[in-house]
């Protein structure tokens, strides 16, 4: 008996929508780890290159810095959780995917514009293609995080 009541109250609490949806647990935990690695990798790489050898390949290094910012923002959103963060992360994952595909194609079509590689060169081949896999899994996870939400939260 007490259990059924507990279940009903739990359901009732859920339909009023939780204040913050957790995005960094379950499969999201793995995403947080990978985005963490890529934030650190891209940020330290671009910092070093921008400071030490900017003249050699300004375009490539600026794009590396941009990717670091995108990774960092997605990481922050995943850790923060909540619907607003979920949407922001969704937009950034889409931007990230466009970035990987766009820059990947650009580096193949016009290699002379890139004397040095970026994180997103050749679709992230230097990073085991994780840069192109990561935004796809990110988008799938963030979409699923929404469908798991109670119906009341979806209408806005």
């Amino acid at each position: 008996m007490p259990e059924t009541t507990a279940a009903t109250t739990a359901d009732g609490a859920e339909s009023t929508a939780p204040a913050k949806r957790s995005l960094g647990t379950g499969p999201g935990r793995l995403l947080v780890a990978l985005y963490g690695v890529f934030t650190v990798a891209a940020a330290s790489r671009s910092l070093y290159q921008l400071l030490a050898q900017f003249d050699r390949a300004p375009l490539a290094y600026s794009l590396s810095a941009l990717s670091a910012v995108v990774y960092g923002f997605i990481l922050f959103s995943l850790v923060r959780g909540g619907e607003g963060a979920r949407r922001a992360a969704l937009a950034c994952c889409a931007l990230e995917l466009l970035g990987v595909l766009g820059i990947g194609t650009w580096t193949l079509l016009d290699p002379s514009a890139f004397p040095d590689a970026t994180v997103w060169s050749d679709y992230g081949m230097g990073y085991l293609f994780i840069p192109v896999i990561l935004p796809v899994t990110g988008l799938l996870w963030l979409r699923r995080a929404r469908t798991e939400q109670p119906a009341a939260g979806v209408q806005d």
């Binding site: 647990t25 935990r29 780890a33």
Partner: protein
């Protein structure tokens, strides 16, 4: 840096990755034994860090730049403990998958460290 140590860390990391990956495959969280394994691999990473710093202080300079080398060294020492703590608070198969991912990253970093140092010649 001692090539044998770099190879040992990389192999230990791969073993840890497959072990934790297997736990994830069997839908299990990381257990005490996994954490002991992570601690051992982390210890190897710290030993490597210390030896590398001693060698750098001794005047050896890596083929592709000291700054780059030190950055990878710090990353290598940090990645398994960091993912270990993340799996500590995620008691599902995904915690195991996270620990496995951290170990794979370590193995990749070791390969890069080997390159940057100028492995084989030193």
């Amino acid at each position: 840096m001692i090539d044998a140590l770099t190879i040992a860390v990389a192999l230990a990391a791969l073993a840890l990755a497959s072990w934790c990956g297997f736990a994830a495959f069997r839908d299990q969280p990381t257990k005490d034994w996994h954490f002991i394994g992570m601690a051992l691999v982390s210890l190897l990473g710290i030993v490597q860090l210390v030896i590398a710093v001693v060698q750098l202080a001794g005047g050896h300079s890596p083929d592709k730049g000291t700054a780059l080398f030190v950055a990878y060294l710090l990353g290598a020492a940090a990645c398994v403990p960091a993912t270990g703590f993340m799996s500590l608070s995620e008691r599902t198969r995904w915690g195991s998958a996270t620990a496995a991912a951290g170990a794979v990253v370590l193995a990749v970093l070791e390969v890069r460290l080997f390159d940057i140092w100028g492995g084989g010649s030193a």
